[in-house]
């Protein structure tokens, strides 16, 4: 029963909150009523059984009543009139089609560009993902009270500034969607390579990001970047088990046990990448950043070993990525692939051009250390490893870098 309720929570939470938010025009009321409805379910379902239409039961029977009760208590809303009007709205609860789905409005509202990024992340995890405030606080290593305040403030701004609860216009949907995908990717990355704390991986966050990615894919099945981001997350997450060793050390791609990769996730990711390649080929649509990153991941996960990887294909994809996003971090990753095709000396020359921009970034020094080692410049390599270890926040990564440094000759 516990799992059954957890499953319904996963499947229905966002729908319940989104439906209530549309009906009552207030995220606070929607969130509280949804939480109360689930609390009632936890109490009643073990006794009475799960109702045949749990989403309908939660929304119509329970949460709507809770919301109306709350609005009645708040006398300043001219409660009687308002409650009467709401009771008249007897639109039956039914699962709506993807385009009309209230959940999409909820996502765009939570990820509104007028909100700070950390507020968008917190709101999305709470209102769309259904994580508790305590869970979100734990994931981002802040006090629960701090996280609660962040969410309360964001909801207050939505209300006071009249951030609309609707889909963006056709003119700005692309830009706004990019903002939504950025929130999901940030959650994933924080889980996949935690920047602080003791756990190198936070599975709760990667799982949640993938769940959000799947939801967006359901809601926007034709959008290329939405498919690309989901594929990228699946192909990255597929390598999760091989990525940290038993002793808690990060294992880089070339040293990973490819037999430990999750073949189901890889198959799903590859299918998405193929679907995008076909669409891009026929529709003359140019792929965005997530699609190119997913394609790079697909090349890696299709190779039987690091040596047998199609590195020139990877470099070609990075060339494409640099055109979309010429940031120093993308150029650093490109240089690492270049090393496999043209050797460490060519790659080092490219990496050294990024020194100024990336001096405070641990991955820059780690990549440079590895290239220097392969080029036989041990002393410089050691110094670069030292810088990387000093800057790395992730314990598994520090352990890996320390071992590599200590293996340097002389």
């Amino acid at each position: 029963m516990k799992e059954e309720i957890a499953r319904v929570h996963h499947e229905e939470w966002a729908r319940v909150v989104a439906g209530l938010a549309r009906r009552f025009g207030d995220l606070d009321v929607a969130e509280e009523a949804a939480a109360e409805a689930f609390a009632v379910a936890v109490e009643r379902w073990p006794r009475d059984g799960v109702p045949p239409n749990p989403g309908g039961w939660l929304t119509t029977t329970t949460a709507t009543r809770k919301a109306i009760d709350r609005l009645r208590r708040e006398s300043h809303r001219d409660a009687k009139q308002q409650a009467a009007r709401m009771l008249d709205d007897d639109t039956p609860f039914e699962p709506t089609g993807p385009v009309e789905d209230d959940r999409l409005r909820l996502v765009f509202t939570c990820c509104h560009p007028a909100l700070a990024m950390e507020a968008r992340v917190a709101l999305t995890l709470r209102l769309v993902g259904g994580l508790t405030v305590a869970e979100i606080a734990r994931a981002f290593l802040v006090q629960e009270a701090t996280m609660a305040q962040r969410i309360t403030r964001a909801k207050a701004k939505i209300k006071a500034a009249h951030i609309p609860y609707r889909l963006p216009t056709a003119d700005d949907i692309r830009e706004r969607l990019a903002g939504v995908l950025a929130v999901v990717f940030l959650v994933f990355n924080e889980g996949y390579l935690a920047s602080g704390g003791d756990d190198p991986l936070r599975v709760d966050l990667t799982d949640e990001a993938i769940r959000l990615g799947r939801l967006l894919r359901t809601l926007l099945p034709d959008d290329g970047e939405t498919a690309g981001l989901l594929a990228l997350m699946l192909l990255t997450d597929a390598r999760r088990l091989a990525r940290v060793s038993r002793t808690g050390e990060l294992v880089t791609l070339d040293e990973q046990d490819r037999g430990a990769w999750d073949r189901t996730l890889i198959a799903e990711g590859h299918a998405l990448v193929r679907e995008r390649l076909e669409t891009v080929a026929t529709d003359d649509e140019s792929p965005g950043r997530y699609q190119v990153l997913a394609a790079i991941s697909a090349v890696h996960t299709a190779a039987p070993s690091a040596r047998d990887t199609d590195w020139s294909q990877i470099v070609a994809l990075y060339d494409r990525l640099v055109m979309l996003d010429p940031s120093p971090i993308v150029r650093l990753n490109r240089a690492v692939a270049v090393a496999e095709v043209d050797g460490p000396a060519v790659a080092l020359a490219e990496v050294d051009r990024l020194a100024e921009a990336l001096d405070g970034y641990h991955a820059y020094h780690a990549a440079r250390a590895d290239l220097l080692r392969r080029h036989g410049r041990s002393d410089e390599s050691r110094a670069a490893y030292d810088r990387a270890i000093g800057l790395a926040g992730n314990p598994a990564e520090r352990a890996y870098l320390t071992r590599r440094r200590d293996q340097l000759a002389g």
Binding site: E74, S75, H76, R77, H112, A114, K159, A160, A161, H162, I163, P164, P168, T169
Partner: protein, 128 residues
């Protein structure tokens, strides 16, 4: 309909042509801002709009004591300050932000968008 204040920020110590580098630039900005104001009026958004004299012309008043205190200059001593503002009505923040972006382009300044209180939000305050 929600009401918003769009405040334009610029240097506290303006040059010869205010925040603009030359007379031509100033005239262009005036013309664009004028056209933007006309559009606001035509589309029913405009409540009020005007530019302010420089911050050095401000006087700060504290009337909380028995005798009011007058101080020469603006309340906040900052390098940048408000130089003018629009009060507009918009259906929601998205519309207000889109208008603010147009206004910012027209007047060549950064614009802060801030909602006014509503009767509902004041009522909620009184409930506390």
């Amino acid at each position: 309909m929600p009401t918003y204040m769009l405040s334009v920020y610029g240097p506290t110590e303006p040059g010869e042509f205010g925040p603009y580098p030359s007379k031509e630039a100033m005239l262009e900005a005036f013309a664009d801002t004028g056209a933007f104001n006309d559009k606001l009026e035509r589309e029913g958004h405009l409540v009020f709009a005007d530019g302010l004299e420089s911050a050095s012309s401000a006087t700060t008043v504290d009337g909380r004591g028995e005798t009011p205190m007058f101080t020469d200059g603006p309340y906040l001593e900052t390098k940048e300050c408000i130089g003018g503002f629009w009060v507009i009505e918009a259906s929601d923040l998205d519309e207000a932000l889109a208008l603010a972006a147009e206004g910012s382009r027209a007047c060549r300044g950064k614009v802060e968008v801030r909602p006014f209180q509503t009767s509902e939000s004041v009522a909620a305050l009184l409930e506390r």
